[in-house]
Symmetry: C2
């Protein structure tokens, strides 16, 4: 939900919306997919909790707790949707939130200028999944993944995933990017380089002159003219995530770590907080549109420091 | 350095600037005052470090470390000033920064619209002191104090101080406000109520529906027509701070505290981070104008959590 960006140029789009029944079917299909992906991710992360052999194996394995929330109805009594937060505070995953939400409403005038298809009609629909994992071990990278489907008088997908290692680790970076690249390449040979660059530009802290981590992909306004094709790509991004990230966690979760490494992790998390509160457009957008504060700020780390 | 605000209306100002020699003398006088106030505050805080009898008395008393920084010269080689950060990580003061800076330059076009007197001429001078203290004990309130003098084609003072208790404590709130009220009342019977309200509006987290703490005063664009009078008021704010805050610290610093109270403090500090990064205009202004990042973000707590 960002300003139009030079990376967003599509050779085909924007495509006109089809009939209401088709649109309703699409909205339902993406919601069902996001919720199913959430279930698979949560199950896999709980399995990882069970498998721990290293530090903190004396603690009980974590389990997700789910909490649903509804947005207030609009003035005429219409349903504006809501979502479910799934939060786990485990022994591998120090804090991981996997949120799904499906909301609708009208954009206020100050938002319309930046959102395609809202000049004529301020109504919107948005469904998505959003995940941030902060790990106990400084050896295990933190991660973010989010995909979404937006409908105004146009419709598009957006999302991506980026990895935040606490210390650079080339095999992790390589495997993470290879998984996302494979998802991209199967759909369009131009996607990976474009979406990787977009990610590097987006997850950048100008005041620190630093990137947030090892990057990944970021895309928005994806409307290639065929819903099925774009939806398949967004599903592929989810599949790539659920395949590769657990591998990286299992690769490192049983390695020991030092107090110095933990302190370094807490300081890196300070940078994560800076990015999310100073720069992240999703956070700002959510807070300004009266989203669920707990769900939006679930991305903040359980502990951070500014040494 | 904020947008003009309804609280800023002055019955007399804006007053035209006098001759260059007088202006130069004023700039120097405020800089000398801010630096002297910094010295007194640092000495008093170090005395407090020495006096500790409670938890952490086994640690060595903290001492301020000072670091000076210079801004890059402008393209024509002109001095754009700099400042000194004084940072102490002590046994009472977990992290306290007392910064002074005196800078000059030209505002970029996007800033001019919001800053009085810059439409005709983009040059500015700014000198100030800025302090944030995060305490080890959750029984001792955190505090912020900042006063500054700005010169464009106009000139004004701004600043204030606000208290952030970790748990509400009525005598602390009362004493803190009484000290600031006395400073205000000695100069103008209308100041306190106006500046207190301005503070409550400013230090408000809309997404949480919470005020930052117990409030205090906040003022800006103070140009009552007589430099000496306005400067005397700004000095009185500094005097009130250096008188009252150490009393509150000494009142509580030897009280024991629990792990639960400490955890509550870390969560309250999470709110402090949210305010400073999402809302504080000084932070945004500093980061956007290429200020010293370490000095600007010295306000962030040493440790925080989002439970």
């Amino acid at each position: 939900m960002t300003r139009l960006n030079r990376h967003a140029t599509s050779p085909r789009g924007p495509s006109p919306l089809p009939d209401d029944v088709t649109i309703a079917r699409r909205k339902n299909a993406v919601r069902v997919w996001f919720e199913g992906l959430r279930d698979r991710i949560c199950s896999e992360f709980e399995r990882i909790e069970d498998e721990l052999q290293g530090t903190h194996r004396d603690k009980a394995p974590g389990r997700f707790e789910r909490q649903t929330w509804k947005r207030e109805r609009d003035p005429s009594g219409g349903d504006r949707g809501g979502g479910t937060m799934a939060l786990m505070r485990g022994r591998v995953f120090e804090k991981v939130g996997v949120n799904v939400s499906t909301v609708s409403g009208e954009f206020s005038p100050e938002f319309r200028a930046n959102i395609p298809g809202t000049a004529e009609d301020p109504r919107y629909f948005a469904s998505g999944i959003s995940l941030v994992a902060h790990m106990r071990s400084p050896k295990v990278p933190a991660v973010h993944m989010n995909t979404r489907y937006i409908v105004t008088t146009r419709a598009w997908f957006g999302g991506g995933s980026d990895l935040t290692p606490m210390v650079p680790h080339e095999p992790d970076r390589k495997d993470f990017h290879a998984a996302l690249r494979a998802a991209c390449d199967a759909h369009d040979p131009g996607y990976y380089s474009r979406f990787k660059e977009w990610c590097d530009e987006y997850f950048f802290l100008p005041h620190r002159g630093e990137v947030r981590g090892a990057g990944g992909i970021f895309y928005d306004y994806l409307d290639g003219g065929e819903f099925d094709r774009d939806f398949a790509f967004t599903r592929a991004v989810g599949e790539a995530f659920v395949d590769v990230y657990p591998k990286l966690v299992r690769r490192h979760m049983n390695e020991p770590w030092t107090v110095a490494e933990r302190n370094h992790q807490l300081a890196r998390r300070g940078r994560y907080v800076e990015f999310n509160l100073l720069h992240d457009r999703g956070t700002k957008f959510g807070l300004m549109t009266g989203g669920n504060v707990e769900a939006i700020l679930m991305s903040l780390p359980p502990e951070a420091c500014w040494p």
